[in-house]
């Protein structure tokens, strides 16, 4: 599945929620079922400090693809992380660098990627692209 196919699938899923409460209940479910990050990866270098919540992001390569794992101390943030990983993980550096993340906006969660939220998600998206750039340079 391409990055855009995955984004479209998420948008489709979220289109079923008419009420914001249902949407957040779903995010909480996603957050609770997100696989925890490997304890060994919970190192300061992988920590993204937000003012409101913290995110750990780990990146590894598998063949020519980057596998992202991530976690947060806040469940809603974890829910959004789970969506970001579903969309961005398992792709090549070029695919990640060329991607345009439009699904967050379309499912009405844009506010969570705003710098004023200080929840670490915006930095996480930037960090994903930086990893892609770094792995590309190494390849």
């Amino acid at each position: 599945m391409t990055i855009n196919e995955a984004q479209d699938q998420v948008i489709e899923e979220f289109s079923e929620f008419s009420d914001w409460m249902d949407k957040y209940a779903y995010l909480i479910d996603l957050g609770n079922s997100l696989d925890p990050i490997d304890e060994k990866a919970k190192i300061p270098q992988n920590l993204i400090e937000g003012c409101q919540s913290r995110v750990w992001l780990n990146a590894e390569t598998q063949d020519d693809k980057i596998i992202f794992t991530a976690e947060s101390d806040a469940v809603i943030v974890k829910g959004i992380i789970s969506l970001l990983i579903r969309v961005m993980s398992g792709h090549t550096p070029d695919e990640i660098l060329d991607s345009d993340l439009y699904f967050i906006d379309q499912i009405g969660l844009k506010e969570h990627l705003s710098p004023t939220r200080a929840n670490g998600l915006l930095s996480m998206v930037k960090q994903i692209k930086l990893y892609a750039l770094a792995f590309k340079a190494k390849a």
Binding site: I28, C51, Q52, A74
Partner: protein, 407 residues
């Protein structure tokens, strides 16, 4: 609620309170961060700009005279508000933070040397921590911290033991912005003075909730911000006893604060102008005076009594929710409630409360060392003002209960 205040009439004075967020009525419970402004304060700003705007203290023309008089009258209003001896003891600053930085610099550079100690409490806002750390980096002073008990009350025995011949200043919050604790500043001051140690009181959270008399407290420095007391943003006050302010060098240099300037030597203006470099916020000062008059019209006693009823009611209602953890249960407490429900993250709770139209603060509240002591990352904080109602607290409690069931 049993009060002499006409809450409906008061709410009508605050236009923002009738707006909606996400199509729900706004329930504004973030007053410890900033309070809303009554119409008279906003109108005062408009009046200055439309009718009497001119730079002050230096013009011979009519408008400059009018603007200068208004600014100096505002200073007298502040003086009377906290019962300072003279208006020379009232320095306008940009806020509490700048006022503490001023003292940390002007007092610190004059009276502190390597190994000297500054005492603060374990419940300070970063504004009363970081300026002293900067001084520590410059001068090698030592910062000592007065601990508090599980209720959030200061350990006064520990305080007595921490005072030493090296203590140069005690700098304490009057009211904790997280725990709501009203600290026994009169006792702290009396004890410090017995050892000839001056005391700075951070009154940012106090002046909007209680009558403050700096002479009765015998505070050496007392600082607060306009925007947390229904006044405009960007103005605050440093009160200092004249005997101290006379001994301190200026903080910032520039216009307004000089007597004569030559390339060889500059002499400084008298108090309070010595500490007010540059064009002062003569608009903010006038609007701040208006906010003070508004509070005085309601009566600080009536305000405090009503807010205490809101606090008691909210505490009782919130405690009915299973897993409720309130941080700060001091006997003397202002209308601030910091809480968590079970181990639900403050960001998760705050995000969903926001969607329900409830404006509360979440996070560490600029008091990360305090959070560290409590062993948590942050809290949800509801803080009440005199325009809040029992119904708004019911809305908060219902929202918290609804949200906690989602986790």
């Amino acid at each position: 609620m049993d009060t002499t205040l006409d809450i409906a009439a008061i709410r009508a004075d605050f236009p923002i309170l009738s707006r909606t967020v996400y199509d729900r009525p706004l329930v504004y419970l973030d007053n410890a961060a900033t309070s809303q402004k009554p119409r008279c304060v906003v109108e005062a700003i408009e009046r200055v700009y439309y009718n009497q705007n001119a730079n002050i203290h230096r013009g011979v023309h009519y408008l400059s005279q009018v603007a200068t008089e208004a600014h100096e009258e505002a200073r007298q209003t502040v003086q009377a508000f906290i019962n300072a001896v003279t208006s020379r003891e009232i320095i306008f600053t940009r806020g509490t933070t700048e006022a503490i930085n001023l003292i940390a610099t002007s007092f610190g550079e004059t009276f502190c040397s390597e190994g000297d100690e500054i005492l603060i409490t374990g419940m300070e806002h970063h504004a009363n921590i970081v300026p002293w750390q900067l001084l520590r980096d410059r001068k090698g002073i030592v910062l000592k911290v007065i601990p508090f008990n599980e209720k959030g009350e200061l350990d006064m025995e520990a305080f007595s033991k921490l005072i030493s011949p090296k203590t140069k200043l005690v700098s304490v919050a009057h009211i904790s912005n997280v725990l709501g604790t009203v600290n026994p500043v009169a006792k702290i001051i009396a004890e410090a003075h017995a050892c000839n140690i001056p005391v700075l009181v951070d009154g940012a959270q106090a002046v909007s909730h209680m009558a403050v008399d700096v002479q009765a407290l015998d505070a050496d420095f007392y600082v607060f911000s306009g925007h947390k007391m229904y006044g405009p943003n960007g103005i605050g006050v440093l009160y200092g006893k004249e005997k101290w302010l006379e001994q301190l060098p200026p903080y910032h240099g520039g216009g307004e604060m000089i007597a004569t300037v030559t390339y060889e030597k500059t002499t400084y203006a008298e108090l309070p102008f010595k500490f007010e470099a540059g064009t002062p916020d003569y608009v903010g000062s006038v609007a701040l005076a208006e906010a003070i008059r508004y509070m005085q019209k309601l009566g600080l006693k009536a305000i405090g009594d009503y807010e205490n009823q809101l606090l008691q009611y909210a505490t009782g209602q919130l405690m009915k929710i299973g897993g409720m953890r309130i941080f700060g249960t001091a006997a003397e407490k202002a209308s601030v409630i910091s809480f968590l429900v079970r181990d639900i993250h403050h960001f998760d709770m705050g995000t969903l409360l926001d969607k329900l139209g409830i404006a509360v603060r979440t996070g560490h509240h600029c008091a990360m060392p305090l959070m560290h002591t409590l062993g948590i990352e942050g809290t949800i904080r509801a803080s009440f003002a005199f325009y809040n109602t029992k119904e708004e607290i019911d809305a908060l409690v219902a929202a918290v209960d609804r949200v906690q069931k989602m986790f």
